[in-house]
C-alpha cells in the first residue's frame, strides 16, 4: 500500500506515493535526494537528522513521511540564500564548530531554532538547547562558540 504525500522542501513542492512506514528522513534523503540531512541513530538521540518543519526544529527520523503531508520543510541545503551563507553557517566555519561534519547539518538546524527562541543566548542556554544533538568530534566547545558568533552576527529582524 502506498499513500500520497505532498510537501514543500526548501521552497520546492514535491509529491510522491510512499509506503506509510517510510521515515521522513529517508524520504528527504532517498526520494528527494537531499543528502545533507543525516541519520546517526535509531532511537531519536543524536539529532543528525534535525530539520525545520513548519518552523520547528524536529528530528526527521521521528516522523513518517506521511505525517509531514502538507508541511513546509527546510533542510540544511535550504539555509544559504543566493549563495550567501547564513550567519549560523558562518559561525560554524569561523569558530571551527565542526570536524567530521556529520553532526553539523543537524546542529545548525537546531541552532536555528535556538536562536529564534534565545536571540542572545547564554552559554548555559546553548548547552541546554543542544541536549538533543550529539557530536563525537568537537567536545561541543567550539559549537557553543559558533552559535555565540552567529548570535552576535545575526542581522536585526525587520
Amino acid at each position: 500500500m502506498k499513500l500520497p504525500v505532498k510537501m514543500t522542501i526548501n521552497g520546492q513542492t514535491h509529491s510522491h506515493e510512499v509506503e506509510p512506514r517510510l521515515l521522513l528522513v529517508h524520504y528527504i534523503r532517498e526520494v528527494i535526494g537531499l543528502t545533507g540531512t543525516h541519520v546517526g541513530c535509531d532511537t531519536s538521540q543524536c539529532g543528525a537528522c534535525t530539520i525545520l518543519l513548519d518552523g520547528q526544529a524536529v528530528k526527521a527520523c521521528t516522523l513518517f513521511a506521511v505525517q509531514a503531508d502538507g508541511a513546509r520543510i527546510m533542510t540544511i541545503e535550504g539555509l544559504a540564500k543566493n549563495g550567501e551563507l547564513h550567519p549560523i553557517q558562518m559561525g560554524f566555519w569561523e569558530k571551527h564548530g565542526l570536524q567530521c561534519g556529520f553532526c553539523t547539518p543537524g546542529m545548525i538546524m537546531a541552532a536555528y531554532q535556538l536562536l529564534e527562541r534565545y536571540p542572545k543566548p547564554s552559554e548555559e542556554q546553548i548547552r541546554h538547547q543542544l541536549e538533543g544533538n550529539l557530536c563525537r568530534c568537537t567536545g561541543y566547545h567550539n559549537i557553543v562558540k559558533a552559535i555565540q558568533w552567529a548570535a552576535d552576527n545575526m542581522p536585526a529582524k525587520r
Binding site: 541519520v39 538521540q45 565542526l98 570536524q99 567530521c100 561534519g101 548547552r127 567536545g139 567550539n142 557553543v144
Partner: protein, 785 residues
C-alpha cells in the same frame, strides 16, 4: 629543520573542507547512489554463544523484492585476517558469516539482498535460524577460570595470548626492598566508539572488466584493499578500488576490516549489481569493534623519599569473540611500553592475558592502550599520594623524568626511547591556569560547609605515529608503519597533493595545504589535497595512532625536497647560474646578490613541462613520490586538571572546570589542534563519568542503544581552558608530534582523580569507572553507615 619560511605554518586558518559540510554537501558513503543499486540487511545472532542448527531462508526468498539470501559457507571468501601477531598467539578462525557456531550477540549469520532497503529488511526478518544455545562468558577474567565456557576447542582456557614486558627479577627486588607498596586493582571498562556516522559500504562489481569498487567508511583505504584483496577475496589489488570519501569520525572503529564490507563485496560480485549496506545504530553497538575492557591489578613500590622504585601490572584484556584486525597490538605494545609514563621508574614488569569472550571484538579506540596505561598510572599515583600523605602534584614532581630536549632520547625500562620531553613546565602551566592553590583553599572552605569539591591532576605521555617499520615487523606487525605522499606540480604551477593519510575530521585538506604552500612559497589556493582513493594515491597506511602530521606530513616534506631540488636545477639552468648561487624565497629562485635575476615558481613549473630548455639529460615533468618511515614514535605529553563538585545527596558529579596543557611539538594549525583536544577531552570525560558498554553475564549487550549508553552531551560539559608548551620533536622534519588522542588519554584519569578526591572525606580511595551517581551515592551511603 626543512621548514623554509612560515607564512601559514602555525596559523589558525579556517578549514577549506567546511563549506561543503556546513551546506549539506558532504559526500559520505551513505550518500552514494548508483544505478541498479541493491540493498543489504544482515541477520545477526541473538545469542552470545550457540550452535547454528539450521538457517532456513525459504520464506525470506519469497519476500517481494528479495534477490538473494546467503548464509555461512555460501559466502566463498577467506576469513577476516588479523594484522598483528604476538609470540605464541592462537588466532581463532573468523569467517565472514558465522559457521557452525555464533560467539557473540550481533555476529552476522546471513545477508539478505533486496531491491529496496525495505525488501532487504523484510527478508532478514523472514530468515529462520535454529540455534542450540550454549553457556557463554562475557568477562575477561571469568573466561580464564577453570570450567568457564570454551569459545574454541583449539584455544584452551580462552587464552589467546600471554605477553610480558619489562624485567621480573628487578621488579620483584624493588618490591622486596620498598618502603611503601601501593596496590590498586582497577577495571578499565568497555567503551563503544559511536562515531556519529554509522559504518557503511557500497560495493560495485563491473562484470565486463572484473573491477570491484568499494566505497567504505575507512580510516585506511589501502589497508582495506590489501587485506580484502589479498586475504579475503583473493583478487589482484589492481582489480579493486577502495574509496573512503567524507567519513563522519572514526576514533579507531573505522580502521578495521569488518564482516559487512567483505560479504557485501562478495555479494556484488556474485549478483553483478551494486550493493549498499548502512549500519543502523544498534548494529554499530553490536558489531563495531569496542574499546578498552581491562581488569588489572597494579602495584607500585616507593622508597622513603616517595620515589617510585618499581611497578608491577597484571592485566586481563578482553579481546571479544574473535581477533579484530589489530586487536593483539592494543593491550600489548601500545600498553606495556607506556607504563613508565612521565616518571622515572627503574623497574617495571607487566603481564597481559589476552582473553576471548562471548562479546563483540575489541580493538583500537581513541588512545588505544595508552589511555589504559595512563589511567592505571595516574590513578595509582593519586592513591599513592594519599597513602604517603603527599600532595598528588608534589608526588608527581618528585618522580618526573628530568628534562631531555637536546635530541638525546630517554630510555625507559619498557622498550620506548622517548624523543624529547620537559614535563614540569606543562604541569606548572596547567596548575597556574587552573588556579590550583586557590582551588585547594576553596575545597577546604567548601568541605567545612558540607560541599564536596574535588581536584584531579593527570600528567601523561603518549606515543604517536608508531614506527619504524622494521621494528614493528619484528614485533609482529602485518603492515609497515610508514606513510606515502605524492606531490604533482601542474604546468601552470598549481599543485595536487596525494596523501596516504586519511581525514575523517582531522582537517588535512587544510593543514597539509598549509605545509605545502609554505614550502613552495605559493598561495594555499594553488594547492589541492587528495586522500581516500586507492586509484589515485600511492599505497598508504591511513590515519590512526595520531600519525598523520608526523608521518603523513613528513612524507610530503620529503616530496617537496625532491621537487625543490629539481626546480632549482631548472631555475639555475634558465638563469645561467650555479645551483648553489640561488636563493629560494617567496616562490621564486633568485641569484644571490642580484635579486632581480629570478625565475618564479610558475615559470619553472611550466618549463619542466615544456621541456624546451631544461638541463641536458633531465627528464621533463615535475612530481615526486616519497615513502617516509620515521625512526621513532613521537611522544607528546602534558598535564590536565579537572575540578568537580559532587553532590553527596544524589551522587551527581558536575564538571566545573577543565584545564589542559599539552605539548604536541610544533603546531601546524592551532585552531585544529585545540579542536582535537576539546573532542578528546569530552570522550575521556565520557569514560570517566558516563560511558559503559555493559554485557550481562549471559553475554547480552545491555547498553545497545544511545538510550542506554550515555554519550557526552553539551549540557554535561564545560568549556575548556587549553594551552600548550612546545618541545619540537627532533625525529621528523616538521618538529610535530601527534595531537589527536592526548585529550582522551589525559582527561579520564584527571576527572576520576577529581571525583575520588571529592569523596576523600568519606574515606573513598577508589571507584571503578564510570563514576555514575548511583555508584557514588552507594559509596557515600556506605561511608555514612
Amino acid at each position: 629543520m626543512a621548514v623554509t619560511e612560515e607564512r601559514l605554518f602555525g596559523k589558525a586558518i579556517k578549514r577549506r573542507e567546511d563549506p561543503r559540510f556546513i551546506t549539506g554537501r558532504g559526500q559520505y558513503v551513505d550518500d552514494v547512489k548508483l544505478p541498479g543499486m541493491t540493498y543489504a540487511a544482515f541477520v545477526r545472532s541473538p545469542h552470545a554463544h550457540a550452535r547454528i542448527k539450521k538457517v532456513d531462508a525459504a520464506a525470506a526468498r519469497k519476500v517481494a523484492g528479495v534477490l538473494a539470501v546467503y548464509a555461512g559457507e555460501d559466502v566463498q571468501v577467506g576469513g577476516l585476517p588479523c594484522g598483528w601477531m604476538l609470540p605464541g598467539i592462537k588466532v581463532p578462525a573468523r569467517p565472514a558469516l558465522a559457521q557452525g557456531k555464533v560467539r557473540y550477540v550481533g555476529e552476522p549469520v546471513a545477508i539478505v539482498i533486496g531491491e529496496t532497503p525495505f525488501a532487504a529488511k523484510d527478508g532478514a526478518e523472514a530468515v529462520r535460524v535454529q540455534y542450540e544455545a550454549l553457556p557463554g562468558v562475557a568477562d575477561g577474567k571469568k573466561a580464564h577460570a577453570p570450567g568457564a565456557p570454551q569459545l574454541f576447542d583449539e584455544i584452551p582456557k580462552n587464552q589467546c595470548f600471554y605477553w610480558t614486558i619489562g624485567d621480573k627479577a628487578s621488579t620483584d627486588a624493588a618490591f622486596a626492598s620498598a618502603a611503601t607498596v601501593v596496590t590498586q586493582p582497577l577495571v578499565n571498562q568497555r567503551l563503544i566508539p559511536n562515531a556519529i556516522e554509522p559504518r557503511a559500504c557500497v560495493a560495485s562489481y563491473a562484470p565486463g572488466t572484473g573491477d570491484l569498487t568499494l566505497w567504505v567508511t575507512s580510516q585506511n583505504p589501502h589497508v582495506h584493499r590489501l587485506l580484502m584483496a589479498a586475504f579475503v577475496l583473493a583478487i589482484p589489488e589492481t582489480k579493486m578500488r577502495v574509496i573512503s570519501p567524507d567519513v563522519g569520525g572514526g576514533f579507531g572503529s573505522k580502521i578495521f576490516v569488518y564482516n559487512e564490507e567483505v560479504v557485501v563485496s562478495w555479494a556484488s560480485r556474485t549478483l553483478g549489481r551494486p550493493v549498499k549496506w548502512t549500519a543502523e545504530r544498534r548494529e554499530s553497538f553490536l558489531n563495531d569493534a569496542h574499546g578498552r575492557d581491562h581488569v588489572t591489578e597494579a602495584a607500585m613500590a616507593f622508597d622513603r623519599e616517595g620515589k617510585i622504585t618499581g611497578l608491577r601490572v597484571k592485566t586481563h584484556a578482553n579481546l571479544g569473540a574473535y581477533l579484530s584486525t589489530f586487536a593483539p597490538l592494543i593491550p600489548s605494545y601500545l600498553y606495556g611500553p607506556l607504563l613508565s609514563g612521565v616518571y622515572k621508574i627503574p623497574a617495571i614488569f607487566c603481564e597481559v592475558w589476552g582473553m576471548l569472550t562471548n562479546t563483540a571484538p575489541v580493538d583500537a579506540y581513541r588512545g588505544a592502550g595508552r589511555p589504559e596505561a595512563t589511567y592505571l598510572l595516574e590513578r595509582t599515583m593519586d592513591r599513592a599520594a594519599r597513602q604517603l600523605r603527599l600532595d598528588p602534584v608534589e608526588l608527581r614532581r618528585r618522580n618526573f623524568i628530568p628534562p631531555f630536549t637536546d635530541g638525546t632520547p630517554y630510555q625507559t625500562p619498557v622498550a620506548f626511547a622517548y624523543d624529547s620531553g620537559d614535563y614540569a613546565p606543562a604541569l606548572r602551566r596547567a596548575l597556574e591556569l587552573a588556579g590550583y592553590e586557590q582551588a585547594r583553599r576553596d575545597q577546604a572552605a567548601a568541605r567545612a560547609k558540607g560541599r564536596y569539591i574535588g581536584i584531579g591532576v593527570s600528567t601523561y605521555i603518549e606515543a604517536c605515529g608508531p614506527a619504524p617499520s622494521a621494528v614493528a615487523g619484528s614485533l609482529g606487525a602485518g603492515a609497515g608503519l610508514w606513510e606515502s605522499g605524492q606531490v604533482r606540480v601542474h604546468p601552470a604551477g598549481s599543485v595536487t597533493v596525494y596523501t596516504g593519510s586519511h581525514s575523517h575530521g582531522q582537517g588535512h585538506e587544510t593543514t597539509f595545504a598549509q605545509v605545502v604552500a609554505d614550502q613552495l612559497g605559493i598561495p594555499m589556493e594553488q594547492v589541492e589535497v587528495v586522500h581516500g582513493d586507492t586509484a589515485q594515491i600511492p599505497f598508504g597506511m591511513g590515519t590512526y595512532g595520531s600519525r598523520s602530521a608526523c608521518v603523513g606530513g613528513s612524507a610530503l616534506v620529503k616530496c617537496l625536497d625532491k621537487i625543490k631540488e629539481k626546480g632549482r636545477k631548472i631555475a639555475a639552468h634558465l638563469l645561467e647560474a650555479g645551483e648553489q648561487d640561488l636563493d629560494f624565497k617567496d616562490g621564486a629562485w633568485s641569484v644571490k646578490g642580484s635579486p632581480d635575476r629570478k625565475k618564479a615558481w610558475g615559470e619553472v613549473a611550466l618549463m619542466a613541462y615544456l621541456a624546451h630548455n631544461i638541463p641536458q639529460g633531465m627528464e621533463p615533468g615535475l612530481e615526486a613520490t616519497s615513502f617516509y618511515d620515521p625512526v621513532n614514535f613521537t611522544f607528546p605529553f602534558g598535564a590536565h586538571v579537572a575540578v568537580v563538585e559532587v553532590d553527596a545527596e544524589t551522587g551527581a558529579v558536575k564538571l566545573v572546570k577543565y584545564t589542559a596543557v599539552d605539548d604536541v611539538g610544533r603546531v601546524i594549525n592551532p585552531m585544529i589542534v585545540d579542536g582535537m583536544v576539546h573532542g578528546g577531552i569530552a570522550q575521556g570525560v565520557g569514560q570517566a563519568l558516563w560511558e559503559h558498554g555493559v554485557y550481562g553475564d549471559d553475554g547480552q549487550l545491555l547498553s545497545a542503544t544511545m538510550m542506554d549508553y550515555a554519550m557526552p552531551k553539551a549540557d554535561g560539559l564545560p568549556s575548556y581552558t587549553t594551552d600548550r608548551t612546545v618541545t619540537p620533536s627532533p625525529i621528523n622534519p616538521l618538529g610535530v608530534k601527534g595531537a589527536g588522542e592526548t585529550g582522551t588519554i589525559a582527561s579520564t584519569p584527571a576527572v576520576a582523580n577529581a571525583v575520588i578526591d571529592a569523596l576523600a572525606p568519606f574515606g573513598v580511595t577508589h571507584l571503578d569507572l564510570p563514576l555514575t551517581p548511583q555508584k557514588i551515592w552507594k559509596a557515600v551511603a556506605a561511608a555514612k553507615r
